[in-house]
C-alpha cells in the first residue's frame, strides 16, 4: 500500500527530534491533521497548579501550523517560521492536548495573493488583536482538546523547493 503525500508529511513530523522530545504524535483523517501531545511531567511549566508550560503549548501550535502548511502546499519540506504570535486564553491543564491548524492565506506557492483573515477556528472571546500583516501565508490554530486552551495566529512562509 503506497503512502499519500499527507501521510508522508504526518510521518515526517514524528521523526523530528524536537517533536519526539515533546512526545508529539500525528493523526491524519483525510486532509485533516490533529497533533496529539500526551501529557508528560516534563511539559509542566507551573508545578503548583499544575499547568503546561506556555512555551510548550506555543511549540505544539507552531509544529501543527508547519505540518498543516506542508500538507496544504503539497511539499515534502517543512516551511520556515517568519513570525508567530500566541494569545493565551487560560493555562493548559495537565492532560493530553490536541492541536489543529488552518491555512488562511497564501502567496506565491499556490497562485495569487489572498488576504489573510483571522481563522474561523479562533474560539469565541479570543483576543481580537489580529496581526495579519505578513502576506506570505498565515495559519490559525486552537487546541480544542481541553476546550480552547489557547488560540493563536502564526505566519509562516514555505521554503522554496
Amino acid at each position: 500500500m503506497s503512502e499519500t503525500p499527507q501521510q508522508r508529511v504526518a510521518a515526517a513530523i514524528e521523526r523530528v527530534p524536537y517533536a519526539r522530545f515533546l512526545g508529539i504524535r500525528a493523526e491524519l483523517k483525510g486532509d485533516e491533521l490533529t497533533l496529539v501531545m500526551p501529557f508528560s511531567q516534563h511539559l509542566v511549566g507551573n508545578p503548583l497548579l499544575p499547568a503546561l508550560h506556555g512555551g510548550v503549548v506555543g511549540a505544539l501550535l507552531e509544529v501543527t501550523a508547519l505540518t498543516q502548511l506542508a500538507i496544504a502546499s503539497k511539499s515534502e519540506r517543512f516551511p520556515k517560521t517568519v513570525d508567530i504570535g500566541i494569545d493565551y486564553l487560560r493555562s493548559g491543564k495537565p492532560v493530553d492536548t490536541f492541536a489543529r491548524a488552518k491555512v488562511v492565506g497564501t502567496q506565491g506557492w499556490d497562485g495569487g495573493l489572498r488576504r489573510c483573515r483571522p481563522p474561523k477556528l479562533m474560539p469565541e472571546g479570543a483576543s481580537g488583536r489580529s496581526r495579519p500583516r505578513n502576506p506570505h501565508a498565515c495559519t490559525g490554530i486552537v487546541t480544542p482538546a481541553t476546550r480552547s486552551a489557547t488560540g493563536l495566529r502564526s505566519f509562516t512562509t514555505p521554503t522554496r523547493s
Binding site: 521523526r15 523530528v16 527530534p17 524536537y18 517533536a19 519526539r20 522530545f21 515533546l22 511531567q41 516534563h42 511539559l43 509542566v44 511549566g45 507551573n46 508545578p47 503548583l48 497548579l49 499544575p50 499547568a51 508550560h53 506556555g54 512555551g55 510548550v56 506555543g58 511549540a59 505544539l60 507552531e62 509544529v63 517543512f78 520556515k80 517560521t81 517568519v82 513570525d83 508567530i84 504570535g85 500566541i86 494569545d87 493565551y88 493555562s91 491543564k93 495537565p94 483576543s127 488583536r129 496581526r131
Partner: protein, 163 residues
C-alpha cells in the same frame, strides 16, 4: 534543595532565586535552560545545543519551539526580576519574530528586559542570539499577568469542574 515550589521567593540573592525558579519548572529543566546573569528587570540566559532539540534534521537547526519556550521562561523571569516582592506570572501573549535560523552546535543565548511593570501586567522584550545581540536570531515581545496564582489554590488545574 527543597521540593516545595513555594520557596522560590525565599532566597535573598536574585540570581539564586531565579535559578531556583528554573529548577522548579520541569520544562525549563528538561530544556537544560540556565540563567547566567541578573540585574533589576533584566536577565541573561542560555539553552545549550542538544540533538534532542533539533527541529530540522537536514540542517541540524534547533526547533522554533525551543526558542519559544526558552524566551517565554526568560521573559517571565525578567518580569519577576523587576519586582520588589516577587510573585508568580503567567503569559498573556507572546509574539516572536525570527530573523535567521540558530547556528547548529551553538548555544542559544538571550537577554530579556522588563521595560514596564504594571500593577497587574508586565511587559517584556527579549532578543535571542548566538554570538552578539547585534546579530539576533529572534526578537520577542510578551505580556505577563502579575500575581497569576492569586486566589487559585495549589492543584487548581486538577479539579475537573470549575466551581
Amino acid at each position: 534543595m527543597s521540593d516545595k515550589p513555594t520557596s522560590y521567593a525565599s532566597s535573598d540573592d536574585p540570581l539564586q532565586r531565579v535559578r531556583a525558579m528554573i529548577q522548579f519548572t520541569p520544562q525549563a529543566k528538561a530544556l537544560g535552560m540556565e540563567v547566567t546573569r541578573i540585574e533589576p528587570a533584566r536577565v541573561w540566559g542560555l539553552v545549550p545545543y542538544r540533538e534532542e532539540l533539533i527541529g530540522d534534521p537536514e540542517t541540524g537547526v534547533i526547533a522554533g519551539g525551543v526558542i519559544t519556550t526558552f524566551l517565554d521562561t526568560l521573559c517571565g523571569t525578567a518580569a519577576v526580576a523587576a519586582m520588589e516582592h516577587p510573585t508568580t506570572v503567567a503569559t498573556i501573549d507572546l509574539r516572536i519574530d525570527y530573523m535567521r535560523p540558530a547556528t547548529p552546535q551553538k548555544s542559544v543565548l538571550a537577554e530579556a528586559h522588563c521595560y514596564k511593570l504594571g500593577k497587574s501586567v508586565a511587559f517584556v522584550r527579549a532578543v535571542a542570539y548566538d554570538e552578539t545581540p547585534d546579530n539576533p536570531i529572534a526578537h520577542v515581545a510578551a505580556a505577563f499577568m502579575v500575581n497569576s496564582n492569586n486566589g487559585r489554590k495549589v492543584g487548581a488545574n486538577l479539579r475537573t469542574k470549575k466551581s
